[in-house]
């Protein structure tokens, strides 16, 4: 599909546009955040503990008197980076496995896809918890865990489109002129699997951010005092009776980011690959 078509399609598609705006807002916030944020996200102000929203602190302060708005701004960097790295960790091996098992079939396909099935049999969050338990709780391991958990999803998507592609005439033609397997896969099949990969990766960003926040909430992700949204929410849980804003705003931030990726992904899917619906 032509590039121009995609852009035109995006402009017409309302969901995609709203999603893109949400994502763009948060990315801009993450980029220029430090100059904007009114306070240092790590500096405690013991006299200003658990204050509700006010002009000085628009989102209020947490249990140590740190400004929640500033922590959310810094947290946006963490969440976006978590999403990007986690998606890359699942995308690269997933795509390679999917290409190989789709192209060669049988002897590679069976063992690869069966092991993917085993991974898919577990609920994603449990598998991620399991992996973080092996690696130890930290921000980096959260990304690795969330990344590994979603490898099978990408492998499946890529494999199914390779299966359809390899029967096409143009693959036959390259084979006939003596193109090597590697050449066929890399130059002819891979570019054609890109649309579904892009759609899936966009939706995957939302899922990854959500899962990482869930791990943070369970205390398995970023450790304090890192301003990670999930961990902030978990702290807010203790003060829900008197200071609900401590939990409310980080959750809202997670929600907006995830919603953005889901809307944009949904829109992209309608434009790039109607067959995926």
């Amino acid at each position: 599909m032509e590039k121009v078509d995609v852009i035109r399609g995006l402009k017409k598609n309302k969901t995609a546009t709203i999603g893109l705006i949400l994502i763009a807002l948060l990315i801009v916030l993450a980029l220029i955040g430090p100059t904007l944020s009114p306070y240092n996200p790590l500096t405690p102000e013991p006299l200003n503990r658990l204050k509700g929203p006010s002009w000085g602190h628009p989102f209020g302060t947490d249990s140590l008197g740190r400004d929640i708005l500033s922590r959310i701004i810094y947290g946006s960097r963490i969440s976006i980076i978590i999403g990007l790295i986690a998606v890359s960790i699942s995308l690269v091996p997933g795509t390679i496995l999917g290409l190989l098992s789709g192209f060669y079939g049988k002897y590679i396909d069976e063992p690869v896809m069966r092991s993917m099935d085993i991974m898919l049999a577990f609920p994603a969050i449990l598998l991620a918890i399991f992996i973080t338990a092996i690696l130890g709780p930290s921000l980096l391991n959260t990304m690795v865990a969330v990344g590994i958990v979603y490898i099978p999803h990408y492998a499946r998507v890529v494999r199914s489109s390779v299966l359809a592609l390899k029967e096409q005439l143009f693959v036959e033609a390259v084979k006939a002129v003596g193109g090597s397997d590697l050449r066929i896969i890399a130059l002819h099949i891979f570019p054609n699997t890109l649309p579904p990969i892009i759609v899936y990766a966009t939706l995957g960003m939302g899922t990854a951010v959500l899962q990482a926040a869930a791990l943070g909430f369970l205390g398995l992700g970023a450790q304090p005092p890192t301003p990670e949204w999930g961990a902030m929410l978990s702290e807010g849980r203790q003060y829900i009776q008197n200071a609900p804003h401590v939990a409310a705003f980080p959750g809202l931030a997670i929600f907006v980011l995830v919603l953005g990726f889901n809307l944009f992904g949904d829109g992209l899917r309608d434009i790039l690959d109607p067959s995926l619906r």
């Binding site: 918890i129 338990a133 909430f217 369970l218 849980r237 009776q241 609900p244 959750g251 809202l252 919603l259």
Partner: protein, 312 residues
């Protein structure tokens, strides 16, 4: 595979200041000094006689510990499945019938919002609204402490009904509402979207037009003719969501201090309580197999065409 997790339960059990000989003693008692293969062999042998081993943390047989919690999780997930299926299917059906109406638009936006919502946040906000602000629903647990409760089935709601104890029934029902609703959010959204697209496909078919032409009422057409034919993919999605529910249970149980399996498996994992974790994983696997079996059986029940050659 579980034993790959670094960290020695013997060390965790005895604390930091244990002497090496004490550690060795505990290891011998727990059978950790044998090779992994031997440990696995023993485990499987005991399993066949219904023995899942002792929890390293509490010293209580894993089976007992898991079973009580399992029933709590079952109570929660069944409630969540019922809520999400009922509301999800209803919303999906109405959206499909009144395509592009205000209801369709609003409910599909809500469904998208539901999928993007961190349920641990939703749970906390519901808790604040209903337990703190309005103070009409309790914050945590399965029933108010101190109420007379003896377990028969292990599922509080059923027990209280059987014994005609209405106060306990309403008490436990109130405790169930928030966690169940929280857990139901995501499956509800997915089911609503699936129902809508599946119904839309069916509604344009000829036999629906025939049914309408016969002069059947809108309700009969929609529920008897259309929904029944649109049900297969919906059932599949409900079945698939069971795995999602088990995962979501970890978060929901954490928020509402629900004494279920989800939270237990996380705590066990962190304490390196191998037998407990193994038991839970085994149980999860069994649940998934049973759910898939039930889904397959429902297929046959709903769609007689699948029964003919037995191949499905």
């Amino acid at each position: 595979m579980l034993r790959l997790i670094p960290g020695d339960p013997a060390h965790l059990l005895l604390g930091e200041f244990a002497s090496p000989s004490e550690v060795a003693g505990i290891r011998e008692k727990l059978g950790l000094d044998h090779s992994y293969f031997y440990q696995y062999f023993i485990y499987v042998r005991n399993l066949l006689s219904g023995d899942m081993g002792m929890s390293i943390r509490s010293g209580v047989p894993v089976f007992e510990e898991i079973f009580v919690r399992f029933l709590a999780t079952v109570e929660l997930s069944i409630a969540a499945i019922l809520i999400s299926s009922f509301i999800g299917i209803m919303a999906g059906v109405i959206s499909a019938v009144r395509k592009y109406s205000l209801f369709d638009y609003v409910s599909m936006v809500l469904a998208l919002v539901g999928i993007s919502m961190p349920i641990f946040w939703l749970g906390l906000m519901l808790m604040y609204l209903f337990s703190v602000k309005l103070a009409i629903l309790p914050m945590m647990g399965r029933f108010t402490m101190g109420l007379d409760y003896r377990s028969v089935t292990g599922i509080v709601i059923l027990d209280s009904l059987f014994r005609g104890d209405l106060s306990l029934f309403f008490n436990s029902l109130k405790h169930l509402i928030l966690p169940a609703f929280t857990l139901a959010t995501i499956p509800m959204a997915i089911i609503a979207r699936m129902t809508r697209s599946s119904m839309l496909e069916v509604i344009s078919k000829d036999y629906i037009r025939t049914a309408r032409a016969k002069g059947l009422s809108q309700g009969t057409v929609v529920f008897k003719h259309a929904l029944k034919n649109a049900f297969l993919p919906i059932i599949t999605v409900i079945g698939l969501n069971f795995g999602l529910l088990l995962g979501g249970a970890v978060l929901t149980e954490t928020i509402f201090s629900w004494p279920g399996l989800g939270r237990y498996v996380v705590d066990s994992l962190l304490a390196r309580d191998y037998p407990a974790v193994q038991g839970c994983l085994l149980l999860f696997a069994v649940i998934m197999v049973i759910v898939n079996l039930v889904v397959d059986m429902i297929y046959f029940y709903i769609d007689p065409r699948l029964r003919v050659d037995g191949k499905g």
